[in-house]
Amino acid sequence: MGFLYALIALGYTMVYGVLKLINFAHDAVFALGAVSTWYIFGELFGIDTPKTGLVLVITVLAVLIVGGLFSGGVAVALERVAYRPLRKRNAARLSYLISAIGASFFVTYLLQQDFLPFLTGPGPRQFPNIVSAAQDAFSFELLNVRVTTPRMLVVVGALICFLVLDRLINKTTTGRSIRALSEDPVAAQLMGVNVDKVIIMTFFIGGVFGGIAGALYGILFGTIAWNIGFIPGVKAFTAAVLGGIGNIRGAMLGGLLLGLIENMSTVCIGSEWKNVVAFTVLPLVLIFRPTGIMGERIGG
């Protein structure tokens, strides 16, 4: 679970790093990742039996890529509709936040409808059963925790994503532009950075990872609903802050840490309090170490 948070946190952290804006709507993006893959693979193609071997790998990759792209696309659309007009109008920060909330609501509750086939409707839906949880070939016990294939998938997937992003941010031109924009927008612009494009890129990348997380969620838990975005969204934000908002590696670290804390509290206090603990982490972090564990620079 911690890895999922980390993935989602990446999205938050990236947008914040560049725009100093908390992309409230990111939780909807995440949910959308799950929904889109559910729809495309489950409903449209009707894939529902566990796969093995190479077919498995391909299917999984396909699912993740589709989910990622879809979410990335939506994130960009969101930026276009909900944030760009505000930027053009020099809006106050409050406006962005409220608009983000509006966007999040709009998308999330739209998903709750069922008048179009790709909207899930109010109830939970069965995610295509691609990866069998009971697959013995890959499951083993590690430190008293049962590691099954889906969980392995999440971990591996997240790690790969993280590595990719890290390389992207630090080694490519796009990555440099993003970093430049996050450090000093005016200078970056003067140096020829196309601000609009970079912002789109940032949203896209963040969205992609959110979407991948969504798809992984579906694989991991087997069922999805329209409202799965919200709580993980807030927790992921907490994770991002915990690790240092605006910092990629921090997001990763934060996600893992939060997952760990959550699980430990389940053991110590009982699982009903899990959410409460997660929610209390945020104010605690903000009070005692507001810059997070790894500080605020996007490059880590």
């Binding site: 560049v18 100093k20 020099n90 709009f106 907490t238 409460v276 209390t280």
Partner: protein
């Protein structure tokens, strides 16, 4: 009734025209004198009434339930109309309260309903409610419990406010959100609050005076509304008084420039906590009323969504203005109903109204932010603030790059970074 701090108290009495010019200049240009001058009589007359206005308003408001019992809108008859009225009523209270926090002091509170919940639960736990083995602190009559609901809310406002009000806007928002959930989950998990099953049979209040006895309840539905009237008018009065006072000015100063305010002697954190507490207390009162009317509360009665919806109402209606808050509340409560009526059912082209309501408000929120950032009926001051309060470079929202949590140091740190001494 827009809220702007009227500068000079001793200048000539304001005319309708000057009021319009000051607050709604574009509208003022469109209205010719032939219309404004006679209307001015009503305007100034109304002003002259002073505190009598509230009495008048109370009487007018009291007649609403009777007006609803007519044949033009037959649906309003019977329980339905009263329910809508009641819901609108406590929503107005909620938006008014949040308006103080968000509109006057500029603090983004996403967990406002937590106080509502606390008020309701305090009421439940201090009256003779629930099943026989329900834990109670005391079992008093609902009237007696009211001050305690308020106190509970005040304390909660204080507890939430002190550690968190140094945080910057975005973070404050998320933390308040978390607060709501923490409260809700805690109530859900504790046995004394009967967990997720909630508490039922919260007693209705009874007026037991020597010359008059009245039970609130099924045969006396109107009385709930009558109870709301003083609450609402009281809140309005309080807000007006605060706005035009030292406290209100301090809140405006904090909204405009916290650092400068602090440098001019404004105890910033104290003022923010105060705003929080005031808002919380109003919410607590609303919670009290809710508990005793509906008679049943459970953690699920107060979803996080509701907190955000109240915020929506305040923002869409208009920040910092009383009429805006009222409008917002009315919109949020009645719009879905109106749409439902017009479409003759629960769906439009398969679009479920009940759930879709939120989606619509979400979209509305975005639109409002883009086109009318202060909300529909915002006070003039807020409108100008929100329209122009952006970064000079217009590139990104880089209000204070790198500045983070504690606005005090961080702000001036940035001044340093800009290359001064």
């Amino acid at each position: 009734m827009a809220m702007t701090g009227v500068p000079t108290r001793k200048s000539a009495p304001e005319t309708l025209r000057s009021h319009l010019d000051r607050n709604y200049p574009r509208l003022s240009q469109k209205l010719p004198d032939t219309f404004v001058t006679p209307a001015n009589v009503a305007f100034q007359g109304w002003r002259k009434l002073g505190y009598f206005r509230y009495l008048l308003a109370a009487i007018l408001m009291a007649t609403i339930p009777y007006l609803m019992d007519n044949d033009i809108f037959p649906i309003l008859q019977g329980g339905y109309g009263i329910n809508i009225l009641f819901t609108t009523g406590y929503w107005i209270l909620l938006t008014l309260g949040l308006s103080v926090v968000v509109g006057l002091a500029g603090l983004l509170d996403l967990g406002y309903v937590a106080f509502f919940m606390l008020g309701a639960y305090t009421t439940a736990l201090m009256t003779d409610s629930g099943s026989p083995d329900q834990w109670h602190l005391v079992t008093w009559s609902p009237w007696l419990v009211l001050p305690f609901a308020v106190i509970m809310a005040l304390v909660a406002g204080f507890v939430l406010g002190v550690p968190t009000l140094r945080l910057r806007g975005d973070y404050l928002a998320i933390v308040t959100l978390g607060f709501h959930e923490i409260v809700r989950q805690s109530v859900n998990n504790l046995t004394i609050t009967n967990g997720s099953r909630g508490i039922a049979q919260i007693p209705s209040p009874v007026i037991d005076l020597p010359f008059y006895y009245q039970e609130f309840g099924l045969d006396a539905e109107y009385y709930w509304w009558f109870l709301l009237i003083p609450a609402i008018l009281g809140a309005v009065l309080m807000i007006k008084h605060l706005d035009n006072s030292r406290v209100g000015r301090y809140w405006s100063a904090i909204r405009e420039d916290e650092v400068a305010a602090s440098a001019m002697g404004v105890p910033v954190t104290k003022m923010k906590v105060l705003a929080f507490m005031i808002g919380a207390s109003v919410s607590g009162v609303a919670g009290w009323i809710y508990a005793i009317k509906i008679g049943y509360i459970a953690p699920n009665s107060f979803p996080l969504l509701q907190s955000i919806l109240v915020l929506c109402a305040v923002v869409i209606g208009g920040l910092g203005s009383i009429s805006g808050a009222v409008l917002g509340a009315i919109l949020v409560v009645t719009l879905p109903e109106i749409v439902r009526e017009l479409s003759g059912g629960d769906e439009i082209f398969g679009f479920s109204i009940e759930a879709g309501r939120i989606a619509i408000f979400g979209a509305l929120l975005i639109l409002v932010m883009i086109y009318r950032p202060g909300g529909l009926l915002a006070a003039k001051r807020r409108r100008t603030e929100l329209q122009e309060a952006g970064a000079a470079d217009g590139v990104v929202v880089a209000e204070d790059p790198g500045a983070h949590v504690k606005t005090r140091d961080a702000d001036l740190w940035d001044d340093r970074k800009k290359g001064e001494h």
